[in-house]
């Protein structure tokens, strides 16, 4: 076991918790702006972890993480905007 592998395991655990949380919010019928914001925040965290650690864009030329994380935040932002207008 090295540092890097342990870190990956930890991130995997966080991703599982995030997924369980999203699923739970769906099961318990959470709806409305607060729920959407919460679910999108979870997705943002999960996505960022995947991009930075699994895709290993952490610590490389800023162009790449900016593009991919920028894509993630832009899409999530658009979704938030769309749900804000039509909930």
């Amino acid at each position: 076991m090295n540092m890097n592998a342990r870190r990956l395991d930890f991130i995997f655990a966080v991703l599982l918790i995030g997924t369980a949380l999203t699923w739970w919010m769906g099961e318990t019928g959470h709806a409305g702006p607060a729920a959407v914001l919460g679910i999108l925040a979870i997705a943002a965290v999960k996505g960022t972890l995947i991009i930075r650690d699994f895709m290993a864009l952490r610590g490389i030329n800023v162009f790449w993480p900016t593009m991919v994380i920028g894509w993630l935040l832009l899409v999530l932002g658009i979704i938030m905007g769309g749900y804000w207008k039509g909930l």
């Binding site: 090295n2 995997f12 995947i50 699994f54 790449w64 658009i78």
Partner: protein, 194 residues
């Protein structure tokens, strides 16, 4: 093993071949436009989308999320292993990643067959047009990702990658993580949020 985590060394390019990254950006753009279209269309059909969303199998969606992040994790571990030159472990992790992808496909096929038996197709209504289009497009990406991983595994299995040279492995891994990343948005958007 206490060698330094190699991923922490500053490098200027993303892991894998630059060509796959151009492809990944193009794919992300296509999915991004697809998601945006979904959101805009939903704004005009909130009642329909909210009603139809309840007919989806959320448990299957969540289970598939687990499969994909597990698959992504396995492949990340495979890359971590090869960086320490643990070739057998790397190949093993890769195989687990492919199996996780297979799990995703099986669950998805059960989900689809239930929908098809109910006579649902792309012309059923706007929500199902999006549900089927988005998930099918993504489904095909999972298959493509698995094909790539399989090709990578064949080489890894023969010990073809090493700590010094694992360019192909990283290329395949980057694509596979992209498939996971897209689902991280797709699942809450189509199955959960209302």
């Amino acid at each position: 093993m206490n060698s330094p985590a190699i991923a922490d060394i500053k490098v200027h390019h993303p892991p894998g071949d630059l060509a796959i990254w151009v492809f990944i950006l193009a794919e992300l753009l296509a999915f991004g436009v697809f998601f945006t279209t979904y959101v805009v269309t939903r704004m005009h059909n909130v009642a329909l989308f909210d009603e139809m969303q309840l007919t989806l199998d959320r448990n299957a969606g969540a289970l598939n999320t687990v499969f994909l992040i597990a698959g992504s994790w396995c492949v990340a571990r495979s890359v971590a292993a090869i960086k320490l030159d643990h070739r057998a472990a790397s190949a093993r992790w890769l195989l687990w990643g492919i199996l996780a992808g297979g799990g995703f496909l099986v669950v998805k096929l059960f989900e689809y067959s239930a929908k098809f038996e109910a006579g649902i197709n792309l012309a059923t209504n706007t929500f199902y047009m999006f549900y089927l289009s988005l998930t099918f497009f993504h489904f095909m990406h999972v298959i493509l990702g698995m094909v790539i991983l399989l090709a990578v595994w064949l080489k890894a299995h023969r010990g073809g990658y090493s700590a010094a040279d694992h360019h192909g492995l990283e290329t395949g891994a980057s694509y596979w993580h992209m498939v996971d990343l897209v689902w991280i948005i797709l699942f809450p958007l189509v199955y959960v949020m209302r």
